[in-house]
Symmetry: C2
């Protein structure tokens, strides 16, 4: 059985969970509390980070981009990157946009400060970072609106890993109730389409002990 | 003509410069001072970051991973990622290691604090960050030693993008004289082999106005 070591509110882990579901690849999720630095886990990934995917033959893959490219190369039935080098480049550009720029400007400032610092026991949330995250998210939602208005989905006409990467990050911020949907109708319309996909269901069922999500989180008609 | 918008001490830019040279793809380098936020440049890359590669047909590519994958897909003569999905996964894992982990733990703390803050005019270097960078580099050099002892090059038997990514980051730190080579003979031996490749030459000729490198920087026998 394929194993995925992950943590609930990790956006890169959610990216891989969504991708596996969209590609119809079964897996068993395993919660890994990375701050415990288990020796067995460090042997799988010396970087000590999730996600880590262990394929049925024992092949171990770390880092969301590595996992993404591997699954696309090996399980080619349902491509989620695109059919030609240019489409794939545009899709990868947007994955990188969310995995690096959105992560740094929004996710780390909100989820990192409010939740992960508590788990990692590395001090109090920094209110300046939280304010920055809440301010930065607006222009990212504008960018999503721009892309989904000019195209059908973010990366082009087809649903792709660009939507998956964006949805992974927005869903963890939404778990905290920090996405200002009321100000961003276009982005909300795109997210509603995403949220109603079966691959999104398991994410909406996530329930972090001691940290319940706001009521609208799992609501498809939020 | 292919254009590469880059900045001297940006490791991701150096990664692309090395890759283009190794793949024998001609290009014209263009220095982009990203902090000036030129409108024409933002039109090329809304993320406002280097590297940006403009192919002879006008195709514009941003982000080192996007550029890397595109060049590998389109210019297949000299592959630098590997010949099968597993080799490519290992190579991509190490690219991600240097582009995210090494970058965050070492490059950002040293080059970011000492140099980029000055260019960006965003305050004084943080001495705590610099101390962290100088401490963290040791275990990365140990990891390079471990990999280059068990394999011929970092990613496997062949020279690959894993070496290029590692060399890109180490070379910018070395420009500041902050690599403790004397404590890491194995890593030095690997870097010597890397440094003597023709693709490395242009990097060793970089001369940043007002910030000369230490004497050993361009020396192949340092």
């Amino acid at each position: 059985m394929r194993l995925l070591y992950h943590f609930w509110l990790s956006a890169p882990c959610r990216l891989v969970r969504l991708l596996l579901h969209e590609k119809r690849l079964d897996y068993k999720p395993v919660i890994e509390k990375v701050w415990e630095r288990r020796a067995d886990f460090l042997a799988l990934n010396p970087a000590g980070e999730v996600p880590v995917l262990v394929e049925p033959d024992g092949t171990t893959l770390t880092h969301p981009m590595v996992i993404t490219e591997f699954l696309e190369e090996v399980h080619t039935e349902r491509s989620l990157l695109g059919d030609d080098p240019l489409s794939r480049a545009e899709c990868r550009r947007l994955i990188a946009w969310f995995e690096t720029k959105f992560a740094r400007e929004v996710t780390d400032n909100l989820v990192g400060e409010k939740v992960m610092k508590r788990f990692l026991r590395i001090g109090q949330p920094n209110s300046e970072s939280i304010r920055a995250g809440l301010a930065n998210i607006h222009y990212h939602l504008d960018y999503i609106a721009y892309l989904s208005e000019t195209r059908n989905w973010l990366g082009g006409d087809e649903f792709s890993l660009a939507d998956i990467a964006a949805g992974a990050h927005l869903s963890v911020v939404d778990y905290l109730g920090d996405v200002p949907w009321d100000d961003h109708g276009e982005a909300r319309a795109w997210y509603q389409r995403l949220k109603s996909r079966p691959s999104f269901r398991p994410l909406l069922d996530d329930l972090i002990p001691g940290l319940p999500p706001p009521r609208h989180y799992a609501d498809l008609d939020f």
